[in-house]
Symmetry: C2
Subunit: 411 residues, 2 copies
Amino acid sequence: MALIVKKFGGTSVGSVERIEAVADKIIASRSNGDDIVVVVSAMSGETNRLIALAEKIQEQPSPRELDVLVSTGEQVTVALLAMALHKRGCGARSFTGSQVRILTDSAHTRARIQEIDSQRIKDELDQGHVVVVAGFQGVDGDGNITTLGRGGSDTSAVALAAALDADECQIYTDVKGVYTTDPRVVEDARLLRTITFEEMLELASLGAKVLQIRSVEFAGKYKVPLRVLSSFEDDPGTLITLEDNTEMEAPIISGIAFTRDEAKVTVSGVPDVPGVAYQVLGPVSDAGIEVDVIVQNVSADGTTDITFTVKRQDSEQTRKLVTAVAQQVGARDVSVDNRIAKVSLVGVGMRSHAGIASQMFKTLADESINIQIITTSEIKISVVIEEKYLELAVRSLHSAFGLGEETALAG
Amino acid sequence: MALIVKKFGGTSVGSVERIEAVADKIIASRSNGDDIVVVVSAMSGETNRLIALAEKIQEQPSPRELDVLVSTGEQVTVALLAMALHKRGCGARSFTGSQVRILTDSAHTRARIQEIDSQRIKDELDQGHVVVVAGFQGVDGDGNITTLGRGGSDTSAVALAAALDADECQIYTDVKGVYTTDPRVVEDARLLRTITFEEMLELASLGAKVLQIRSVEFAGKYKVPLRVLSSFEDDPGTLITLEDNTEMEAPIISGIAFTRDEAKVTVSGVPDVPGVAYQVLGPVSDAGIEVDVIVQNVSADGTTDITFTVKRQDSEQTRKLVTAVAQQVGARDVSVDNRIAKVSLVGVGMRSHAGIASQMFKTLADESINIQIITTSEIKISVVIEEKYLELAVRSLHSAFGLGEETALAG
């Protein structure tokens, strides 16, 4: 008999009918004799409806009161799901974050979980109940309602799984699991049955929106086996595991992530003196603009080029900030290119396999795709290319590294 | 500097605009330097919306889960009202029933308040905050969310006022206060400036829907001065006081209540033997039907007539139940009359003034209105008459007892 924490997001509980379908899924799982804790989000649209009410009153409402307001969304769902379980003859009790005492700090709207009192939940499980917990929310030491910020329900589920020492934390979504790459771009993208936490973190940070990065970090830290699976289909989905659980013959590359929402900024002819990178990038991060890739090349003539990428929506503001700095430090030129895309190969196998980078570069060269920037980490190689080549690049890499369904069957 | 508890119902907070108007009213009251605790209901329609969601799942949902669900309604309002106060530069904090620890028993959907921990509220008041509390809800000893049942927000307000030893509990409604009778029936019905708890209780039980009877009982028991006033107009409304606060020259009659939603059931020719009233009425109350007036006359021939009134919607079911019993006990006949109305004079002055009843009967006789049933209590005389005479009866009594605006000014 296992203890499973299941999390269903807003789309999965978006209507009474969908809540009933979730109840059916829970009943089916319980027929194995498993103990079940369910974490749910607000019904889709509800959080936005509540925020809109608040914004009719104040543009920037008090974060404390905003938390009191939006936390009602999940409270509605837990009650309705408990009723749907009762209807099926299944004992169930709902709890708010405050009731199970998901203790957080007091950073309203983006609180961090500090501690969970698991005893109340264990008592309910001992009585044979399914325990339905409101995700996304907690309570601070003074009894104030807090929320965990976007994607917080995933974090609630993982934190509960860790506190309860659950056998698995299952995140139900509207996709079947984690794919080798986006199936909308590559037709034969393959559903991964397992992936490591590190790979998942890289994929998530590179734009694969399946899981909130924070919950993956959390699950990795507390060694909670995490599974991503579909609310709407019967499929075991993808299990995210610690590295030492993976098979000997794990594939070298797990997946290809990509993003097209970045812009490239190049400051050329920068005097190559200590501290100049900080001078150029300091004002950008001071303005709250997130900088992704940064590369700097040495050059022969005592000047250097600094290139970095920012979110595309920040590119104009960045151009202004950097142009001002460029004059101060005596740089030659600032150029901004919005028509770029970033493509990344991710895989823990890279650590022990040489030649991945060169195979990647050769594949792109064979398609006449020019690489503008290269960055690497231990389990990832990213390249920035012209945006119009994005699909071509992803498809040819997917095929070159044998990630497709056909290849997997053949292999 | 006084401590005032103000309660605003669902209509008063039915939209963001109305919530802003309530905030204005609170700011205006605070300009006297008073400390203010506000109790609010769910926005009008919200509780019904939530119950409809539940009923889509289960006809009779678990009372515990229903409470988790519907209590979100008030939680939304407290957050929005706190924001509206912040917008006006006024410090404010919202609290759920659970957070201020309105401790109740565990009778979900109709819980009774047992205790309130007033310290948290006092601390907030000391910090200069307006304290905004969710009405209608509390928490039981195990931390389960409870609700107080219909009209529970009035009760919350009175209970808070009692716990905080407030100087006044003000119930804002959509009427200006308590009138001598329904102004829709009698044009010159007069707004009462004061009324005693006992009179208010009688008026409330007789169909004057201004206040929930339970909150009036509660206020009387804890000697909380209660004021009914309009959310939409600037008027001091009606103060409900302990009897010894009323003036020496208090009017004999405070008001005239009436109801037309009852039906009269008569069982005639009942053998006049001990226990027969119980035999007739037992099955009715066993069926959960509320019986109002009951009269039984002795008669000369060894039989008696028993007449009673029930809610009109229950009259057919009552007829069936009583007809069965009538056969068993050998009664002669059962008749049901739906076209009746009940008119009641209420006033503590009756205690010390003889002749009120005869003046009432004469007034009705002068208008050729036949009285079908008479019942009296210490501060009330009720008569049942044919429904079509209701307005005429109320107007002539209102005038005969000098309750109108004109008379009041002249007196």
